[in-house]
Subunit: 177 residues, 2 copies
C-alpha cells in the first residue's frame, strides 16, 4: 500500500497558535490529484494518567467548551513550541496538581483526526506520584482535583463521565498498562 | 461550576461539508469575554468494533493521510446529513465489510477536541456479525479486510499499530464492554 503524496500546501486561515488551516494538493497512488484537501493544524498536547504512591488516580472535575455540564478529566495541556512531550507532561502534572513522578511510561502518540490532523495527543502513565506543591492556577476553566480509586476511574470511563475522545483513549490505555 | 456562554458566532472559513471554522464570542462565568474563540466544525463520524459469530474481529489494514505507513483500523465513516449514528454504523459495516449484525451496543459519543469541537465520534460494538455480501469499494484509500482474534486486537492496540486517536478510544472501549 502506498501513501498519499503532498504536492503543495497553501494557507487558508491563521487564527494564531491554537488553529491554522491549510489546503493541500494531494496525489493518490493511482495518480488522482485532490486539489484542496483541508488540513487542520492545532498544537500537539499531552494527557497523563497519574497514580499516587497511595494508589489514588489524579483527575479533575471541570468544564470544557465543547461539552455539556461537567466532566472528569485527566491531567493535560498543550506543548509549548519546541517542547518535548514528556517535558510537557511533567510540567502539566506539576502545575495542575502539585505532584511529581519519577516513573513515566509512554502510552503512544495519536493524531486526533485520521484525515485532517488536528494535532497529535501524546499519552503517558505516571506512577508513584508524590505531592511537592507548587500548583499554578492559570487555566481558564474552573477545576477541582479528585483522588480516585482505580474502581472509580473504571466506573467514570464506562459510564461516560469522561467526555472527551483523547481522554477516553488515554485513560483506557493507562488502565491497560 | 458554570458553563461558558456563546454570545455570538461568525464564519471564518467554509471548505464545504468536511470543514468549516467559526469564531465564537465566548463569555466565561466571571464575565470575562473572549472575542474570537476558534471553533472547528467537521462531520460527526462512527467507529465500530465488529465481532463475527466465529469470534473474529473485523479490522482493516489501510493508509490514512494523517499517519505514516499503514495502520490497523476499525470500521468507520462519516454521518450523512440527518443520519442517525447507529444507522451510519450499520451502513458502514455493510458497505465496508459485507457483514451485518443484530446485536449493537453503544460505546459512547465523544467530541474529538475539548476546546474546538472538530466533530463527535459515536462508537459502537457489533456482536454476532454474519457475512451477507454487498461490499462497496467507494473509499479513497486502499484497504484490506482482516479477521483478527481478540489477542491480535489487544496486541495491535498495545503495540501502537492502531494509529488514530478515535480508533484507540473506540477499540479500547469495545474490548472493555
Amino acid at each position: 500500500m502506498k501513501p498519499w503524496k503532498t504536492n503543495r500546501r497553501r494557507d487558508l486561515l491563521d487564527c494564531g497558535k491554537f488553529l491554522r488551516v491549510e489546503a493541500h494538493e494531494v496525489e493518490l497512488p493511482d495518480g488522482t490529484v485532490i486539489p484542496d484537501w483541508p488540513w487542520v493544524i492545532s498544537p500537539d498536547f499531552i494527557n497523563v494518567v497519574a497514580i499516587t504512591t497511595k494508589d489514588r488516580y489524579l483527575f479533575f472535575r471541570q468544564t470544557k467548551y465543547a461539552i455539556e455540564g461537567t466532566t472528569i478529566a485527566p491531567v493535560g495541556g498543550y506543548l509549548e513550541p519546541g517542547e518535548d512531550p514528556l517535558e510537557t507532561a511533567k510540567r502539566e502534572l506539576q502545575e495542575e496538581t502539585g505532584y511529581q513522578s519519577a516513573d513515566w511510561t509512554p502510552l503512544g502518540a495519536y493524531p486526533a483526526d485520521a484525515n485532517r490532523g488536528c494535532g497529535t495527543g501524546h499519552f503517558f502513565l505516571a506512577r508513584g506520584c508524590t505531592h511537592v506543591g507548587g500548583e499554578v492556577a492559570d487555566d481558564l476553566e474552573e477545576q477541582e482535583l479528585l483522588r480516585l480509586s482505580r474502581g472509580e476511574v473504571e466506573a467514570a470511563l464506562d459510564s461516560g463521565e469522561i467526555k472527551v475522545m483523547s481522554w477516553v483513549a488515554c485513560v483506557a490505555m493507562g488502565l491497560r498498562a
